[in-house]
Point group: C2
Chain length 461, copies 2
Amino acid sequence: MAQLLVVGGGAAGMAAASRAKRLKKDLEVVVVERTRWVSFALCGMPYYLGCVVKRLSDLTYYPLSEFTEKRGIKVLLETEVVDIDYSGRKAVIRDVKNGGEKEIEWDYLLLATGAKSKAHRFFPEIKEASNIFVLSHLDVAEEARRYALSLGHGARAVIVGAGYVGLEVAENLASLGFKVTVIEALGQVAPRVLDPEFASEIKEHLEEKGVEVLTNAPVKGFKIVDGKAVAVETEKGNIEGDIFIVGVGIEPNVDLARRIGVKIGETGAIWVDEHMRTSLRDVYAAGDAVEHTDLVSGKRTWRPFAQIANKMGYVAGSNIAGREAVFPGSVGTSTFKVFDLVVARTGLSEEEAKEAGFKPFSVSLQGGTRAHYIPGRVPIKLKVVADEDTGKLLGAQAIGASETVLWRINVVAALLTTGATVWDLFYTDIGYAPPLAPVWDPLITAARLLMRKLGEKPRKA
Amino acid sequence: MAQLLVVGGGAAGMAAASRAKRLKKDLEVVVVERTRWVSFALCGMPYYLGCVVKRLSDLTYYPLSEFTEKRGIKVLLETEVVDIDYSGRKAVIRDVKNGGEKEIEWDYLLLATGAKSKAHRFFPEIKEASNIFVLSHLDVAEEARRYALSLGHGARAVIVGAGYVGLEVAENLASLGFKVTVIEALGQVAPRVLDPEFASEIKEHLEEKGVEVLTNAPVKGFKIVDGKAVAVETEKGNIEGDIFIVGVGIEPNVDLARRIGVKIGETGAIWVDEHMRTSLRDVYAAGDAVEHTDLVSGKRTWRPFAQIANKMGYVAGSNIAGREAVFPGSVGTSTFKVFDLVVARTGLSEEEAKEAGFKPFSVSLQGGTRAHYIPGRVPIKLKVVADEDTGKLLGAQAIGASETVLWRINVVAALLTTGATVWDLFYTDIGYAPPLAPVWDPLITAARLLMRKLGEKPRKA
């Protein structure tokens, strides 16, 4: 009986394992996972921290028995793969608790090793302090919450890194009564995600909610006294705190891939083709350790997002089971909510579009979520980027206190997926009803403004 | 100086007038409008009735002065076009108040004559009763509200016709304290808009909110006593009431078009090409009187929706001013909200797809608006239709107590606009964040289920 060895029990790993087993009942599927969790939703950790999510087990999509009993997958928890013999189709696994090692055979290998934080590499002193947390896994989230809740109301939380996870943590700790400071090395919150004019709205909103935001403040290190951090040392001075959460970016976990000689792509993540095959026969990879194609620029990209990891896993599992599937790529949609504000982006920013060889231009506008005469209309700000030569849509960003912000961006994402133009956006038949949308939706108005430069009549992109 | 005569000051007429004047400053633009309003939002009337919208003037997008003073458009209110001499490029207009007629010249003519209710044709006795209202225009809405508010709390309102306007009126009158009954000739609410399983959810929701719904009850007429209706006579018995609102469908207003010999299309609405040109040179048409192409089936269709009327007007105005624009068509997105429920559809139903020559199949599923572990997750029901031979997306319907219902349908609408497939939907990069969307969005799950039949790998549509 052929055996599939899945390294990593996160979204990609479990999606692939489930898919392969479903299609090929006689395939033996073994998942090796270092922690005590599979099918975990790391994105939910900020909400666990803020007690929006009560139980740690709520952050798994399925109980273990769903995989082991219902789907017939063998899962080895608290086990890690320490070595792989590619030509011999073997792997050495180790029990992380008692250290016992054993050998396991495989016919197909799936690397779903995910991503890891850069925090420990940047700040080795983190391990010396019991009150600095890097939210790399559910068990750390549990430890962080236990520690946070042991502190009194009004205790000081310092968040290093104003990426979207940092901002979600800021909201959640503020909601628990913490005095929260967010520290960012670069000049804006959510750098590399949003243009500055959107980032500045988020900063203002955070400040209105009582969160202090310090930008342009690279962190030099932590001041640690008796096993506890008491301050972050930044180029703008020391910031004291009682609990510290560090989110300074992640990188693909490619150690095992390198060990067996799998090709690493130009992004630093594992290279795969659109069947999720690595450069080595019978070795597949999926999830946050893996790069893929950006459908807008055609270039390789690394986007460690759960929805992409799931699709990659699904595609890898299909192909391993012999049912051909392809993962064409993504367009780079990301979104987050911080207090009342919803932020979303898709595709390329003007800057990224220029780098990718386009001739981008953009329009920005303020609009509303409903007909002007219906109460509860929420203002939203939208920016759409297109190529001047062809009218091809390139990207969009939006912000406002409405879930529909994400969905307006999703409409652009759908158009980007199919290589659509500004004219396609203008003629997209957005549904209209007074309590649900304005008759000229901001998306359509944006397209109309872009057409001023391009002309009213579609040309071939 | 060339002159453009616009017949009708609604969405299409004013969009065309504004666009033409903006592009061609030396064009004389005259709008002739029968009522005392231009740029009116008839879709807002139910909300005016329910006092959600306070002032009648809130239901116009711009004050008259925006058009006359700022945009330089001549507007003749309470004036109608009674005859047109096509070869002589003249029209006879009449003051609807004092009856005075005069002649006006034109070089370009735009027919934006809109739609009219079938109510008076079906029930000529309506005009004999002072308490039966057909919401055909803002002034009727004012009269209806005045009458409604003159009745005491708990008065009985009877709504004839369970189309989406009827349902919106039901919600609004119920919110004023009326005991509301909705009567529908066919077997479900929102017929021709939604499949029965969606309609039945709406009916249940209305009943939960205290609105009585009578389906399969064709109306034979009204029982009128002393100039007031006291009951509707239906095949299921008489339904008594104090105020009656009739919404039994609309039809394109093509009287003037027929008079001058403009071609009427197979749908019964004015035929135009994609430049919004009618069959007669220099005569354009736009809005609810006009048919266009359904982008999914390629067939002609008539969709009297405001967002389409606006785009048609924009395109007509551009072309009249000499700047080429095309209106490719629509995909049939429509949406409404009734109490807490949001309903939306786009494209073709399975039945319509079969009629259009496709080989449709569908999947239906229940999903949620957020990650399972975030409070406030709202259940939604979704149906997606695709073609079995090609995998081409054909349509979708959704329902749930969330604005995002419409936006999920808008994502499908965007894909339909570009002729996309089930695989395009699966790989659409929907943004994910726990408080905003589940990691497997219902849209993506629907695509995955459709792929079970089609295969995992895209084929050319």
